[in-house]
Symmetry: D2
Subunit: 392 residues, 4 copies
Amino acid sequence: MTANASGKAAVKAALRAQRIETPSWAYGNSGTRFKVFAQEGVPRNPYEKIDDAALVHQLTGVAPSIALHIPWDKVDDYADLAAYARDKGISIGAINPNVFQEDDYKLGSVCNPDPAVRAKALDHLLECVDIMDATGSTILSLWFADGLNYPGQDSLRARQDRLAEALAATYQRLGDGQRMLLEYKLFEPAFYATDIPDWGTSYAHCVELGDKAQVLVDTGHHAPGTNIEFIVAFLLRQGKLGGFHFNSRFYADDDLMVGAADPFQLFRIMHEIVQAGALDASANVAFMLDQCHNIEPKVPAMIRSVMNVQEATAKALLVDSDALAKAQANGDVLEANAILMDAYNTDVRPLLAEVREEMGIDPDPLAAYRRSGHAERVREERKGGQAAGWGA
Amino acid sequence: MTANASGKAAVKAALRAQRIETPSWAYGNSGTRFKVFAQEGVPRNPYEKIDDAALVHQLTGVAPSIALHIPWDKVDDYADLAAYARDKGISIGAINPNVFQEDDYKLGSVCNPDPAVRAKALDHLLECVDIMDATGSTILSLWFADGLNYPGQDSLRARQDRLAEALAATYQRLGDGQRMLLEYKLFEPAFYATDIPDWGTSYAHCVELGDKAQVLVDTGHHAPGTNIEFIVAFLLRQGKLGGFHFNSRFYADDDLMVGAADPFQLFRIMHEIVQAGALDASANVAFMLDQCHNIEPKVPAMIRSVMNVQEATAKALLVDSDALAKAQANGDVLEANAILMDAYNTDVRPLLAEVREEMGIDPDPLAAYRRSGHAERVREERKGGQAAGWGA
Amino acid sequence: MTANASGKAAVKAALRAQRIETPSWAYGNSGTRFKVFAQEGVPRNPYEKIDDAALVHQLTGVAPSIALHIPWDKVDDYADLAAYARDKGISIGAINPNVFQEDDYKLGSVCNPDPAVRAKALDHLLECVDIMDATGSTILSLWFADGLNYPGQDSLRARQDRLAEALAATYQRLGDGQRMLLEYKLFEPAFYATDIPDWGTSYAHCVELGDKAQVLVDTGHHAPGTNIEFIVAFLLRQGKLGGFHFNSRFYADDDLMVGAADPFQLFRIMHEIVQAGALDASANVAFMLDQCHNIEPKVPAMIRSVMNVQEATAKALLVDSDALAKAQANGDVLEANAILMDAYNTDVRPLLAEVREEMGIDPDPLAAYRRSGHAERVREERKGGQAAGWGA
Amino acid sequence: MTANASGKAAVKAALRAQRIETPSWAYGNSGTRFKVFAQEGVPRNPYEKIDDAALVHQLTGVAPSIALHIPWDKVDDYADLAAYARDKGISIGAINPNVFQEDDYKLGSVCNPDPAVRAKALDHLLECVDIMDATGSTILSLWFADGLNYPGQDSLRARQDRLAEALAATYQRLGDGQRMLLEYKLFEPAFYATDIPDWGTSYAHCVELGDKAQVLVDTGHHAPGTNIEFIVAFLLRQGKLGGFHFNSRFYADDDLMVGAADPFQLFRIMHEIVQAGALDASANVAFMLDQCHNIEPKVPAMIRSVMNVQEATAKALLVDSDALAKAQANGDVLEANAILMDAYNTDVRPLLAEVREEMGIDPDPLAAYRRSGHAERVREERKGGQAAGWGA
């Protein structure tokens, strides 16, 4: 596990080059079906969300883009928004259409039995590609809340036909350098069946669509007992892993801070990424956070989450791949496992502190955040107006 | 399984005597964290909820009480509300305190680390006993949203001490003929740990409190793979089954119509009830619905749910207990299972139609509902004002 | 739901035409890792297993083939075995290779890091195609116990490469009219990762292999909360559903009698089959049982299981498809669900009794079995020798 | 988290005083229902198992006792066996009765519908108390494979009555300084219902029995999503935590090396232990391993497992309890979580190496094992005879 001098340099270079996207919605208020606990100082518009995301990037050095959610981040002039982001040192990342919060979508969006609703949903998807054009975004990140609450409610198969039709129409609209990532989710908000419940469904659609369609893995969207790193390894082998929505969960789609519930699992996922060379920008895998900070302050929670991904990545980079391959080839179960655990059990925080210092930032981003006075400042500045949230 | 004449009469008598309570909140709007889809004609206040509950009772004959949720059902004069219910032919059932929707409760209510918040929560519990006194309710139905999202967030053990203290204070306040039912829930809205996650926790507290404290089983609140009928049988053996919150779920706490997801499980639960003689009113087991009708119309969904419980009960009553006991004693696995399945596979709808006719109501409650014009009427009458929902 | 006269005739015709394959291994002894409880009268060789399977077919009329498991059913002359089966009125169904019970397979078969073990496993797969040729079997049913117990134990991705190689070599060997079905399984006997854990993995390999490769759905091989009928509907849409291994489970791969744990789920699966027209022989979907009768007598358990599939099928055939499609198109959630439940709640046993009488067999196959004296006879005849089981 | 000098001394003292029991059966062969892969050099009798356990203790310094399983460890003279253990430097730990591997137990042991089988099972339990007397063991460790595969197979409630009767009779037989630990298990080998499925059931029986009966937590015996550290904390609060069977699992009861599947969970469990002062010998909590080494060599796997528990314990001891309590009292979610994670993220291997050197043993027990030549020696010495395993 101990990397030699050149090995350590490569590890540090990889850590410096890492890119983790934060989502605009995680800076706003969120909650459960029971209650949204509003917090003070929360952004009131997309520009203020960009301010917060830019601060996270400034303090961590590895979060240079922000994902948008439309219409939560609707503005009149998207080019202006993108320019504002650039001024703040970040760029616009994935565009996330929302086709689940209007009354028309009660029984689904692109899978709705009503053709008029499907047409409306498709229009919104296409509008989001326009926004990609305007902002320079290269990723259309698709998640559908479509599904059924009751057996018999609709035809599972007919809904797939409708889904395929909408995906194809959207795919056609993508320009050069643009791609669509298709997210899957086992459950919620539909309870009996979701129309893209698992990676297999997303994969099959993406294969039929073509190279610009890839699977998006949200780490919180699986059935209990699912081996997520297997899915990651398999999709990488097929060239169909488009990116991640990172978060963590104990039971359902808890959307807790990534690495908070099962840091070992996060390490195993990053191990597959590293083994496949997919940390490299050329692999085109988007590492995005998708979280809800319901009870904890949002900006420091985001910083912490970025650091958690960095720590898992650093550990994965420390795995002695040659020794591991040798033990695996020998069928030495205990030794192969020990080599993996050796990296996992390493305390990588000193290494990451070094990396940050070399990047010219504070080795302790959370301490730097506390010293920045940001929390106190926005609590004053962002009084009045409507705090951003899932509903706005 | 074929009951002889006297057997059939007993089955019908039991079905006529069955009592299923409906919850006021299921008549109002509800949804997921993503969206509440408002419906037309939804009640705007507790009186209109009582109107709907009374209609469900009128059409089914077995739903003579309504559970209240405070403050969602807050009124100035609870005696007046109870009188109104009586005039409509039903009574006030369980009182459900709400200590999870105020900002103070972000980190819990009776388990909160802040003593001031705990005191406030306890005050509300005691206020709810006052409402029991005013309405004639005999059941305080306790569910706490308390729990933790992150490991380390609070002391699991200290929270139990605080919980025990609040429960004891509430218990002391109960009058003659009043009891408290303590509900457990694996998950949601807390994600890492809930303070009463399973029946064992509820049971241990109830044993320490005394005879007036019993466990409430919500059929949607268990980990995957949990055998709910075992819990029911065990609690009945211990004299600690206070009642049910019926609903159904495929994955988490979906709160779908009872019997919609796993009708065989509902039958097995009712089989344990019947075998233990706990259908009888003297057993003091409260059969209550607790559901959300997010996408389906609420009153017919409630009627359907009541009918689903009736059908499961009728099948359970048809089990040939003598033959079953004999096959079990003989260790005849296939025969014992066959006897149970024989009852389950019976179509009990004709029998229930007969029972309804003998009760002087329509054999087909849903058809009667459609003919009643209720849906159309309330859509007109309940315009304006604020539709009831979880937040109001 | 009430089929009119011509509708009823079609339902009965479909039920008469149904074909359910029973597995040779379910007639032998089986158990858990803790204990195999041997039963009296169990077959001692493949010929006696055929005797039992033929009896199940004779009594039910819909079980005309038997799946073999090699080497458990190894004989010197497979043509002779097939002729014996024909004489008894049944045929040889799927051939199931076993590459998990030799010491060489401790770390896997076709995915083993050792090329010599992989070559040995491939040889066995090819040998099984020889047996298909000799017996007239058209299905090679592939399940691999391959996987990992510990993270790091082997490369998840390299194992997929090895798997693909073995599958391709086997696929090449298939003759006209032969196909391979690729089974997936979440867990067991490998605990950390299985090499084909879900339908997506099987599907991706089958697509790359070609038309003769299809997915096999074992109803017990999914994570908790998985919607199996969705997978069935999706695979039918893609033309990649090869067949089923039917059984039922409460938690893991319990291999209980199909329909015993969740009869409603079995009905929903058959509903998707019926809606897609896949009950028809031309759809080439193989309906096979794969069960273990650890504590119950085997032949009557098999008869019961066949009947359970028939009952679920009959209910699915009774669904009023036109009314259902109309309610679905209207977005009438309650009505659509009610139409489905109406069929499920029907007691189809009288209908199936009629069907059996029209087929010239006893309307009550289990009663006929008891009268046959088979259990008593084999208990005498099959004394001495080695009872068949998983290990033999 | 950084302990000061006196803090560090206390941590080391606690680590030196830790006691982890290894199970005799983990030194023998084991497997799944599909296959037992025999290993060379496996013990052939209880004396050789003691040799292996003594070696594990010699190399780790913290495994000074061995649990026995009867009849797998049946000998003519238990006093002689205990003396042999003493000579080797260890003692006899918990006695584990086996009432699941005789044909009589097909439908259960102490819950069997047949009174003769129940009497036989009870006799064996009492015989095991005799063995406790003879060996100086203080713990009767009870796990029952009892349960049902099919709904209706037997009365859930009657089985509880039978269970209570057998437990009471066994309890009466316990001498001074002896206690019984009652293990629960969700599933396997019974599939539909187990007679002690969860901690609540075990707890309720233990409360009724008295102070000498306590709950045994096997970390692999829970439903998905269960928060095990909550159970540990709750049982400690009630004074009813008797001990652990440590192992790890990804899905069912995988019995993998403890700490291999979810090291963070193991840490959280040990955190509750440390917070409650239950690491201290006076707390009388038995820390026992219960694992199966199906594909990895057994002695080094056991050493590794002991080390995994030590590492989790060391991390738990490093938690800055004062700072944690303060952050919790302040409701500082992120800080409280960070304090916990700070300890978890520490590399405690250097600290444990120090502790070992102070104990006079090798700082790297696995390297010492490899140098010992034990594996090669027993491979020669233990040829011939019958290797120990679950069935022998």
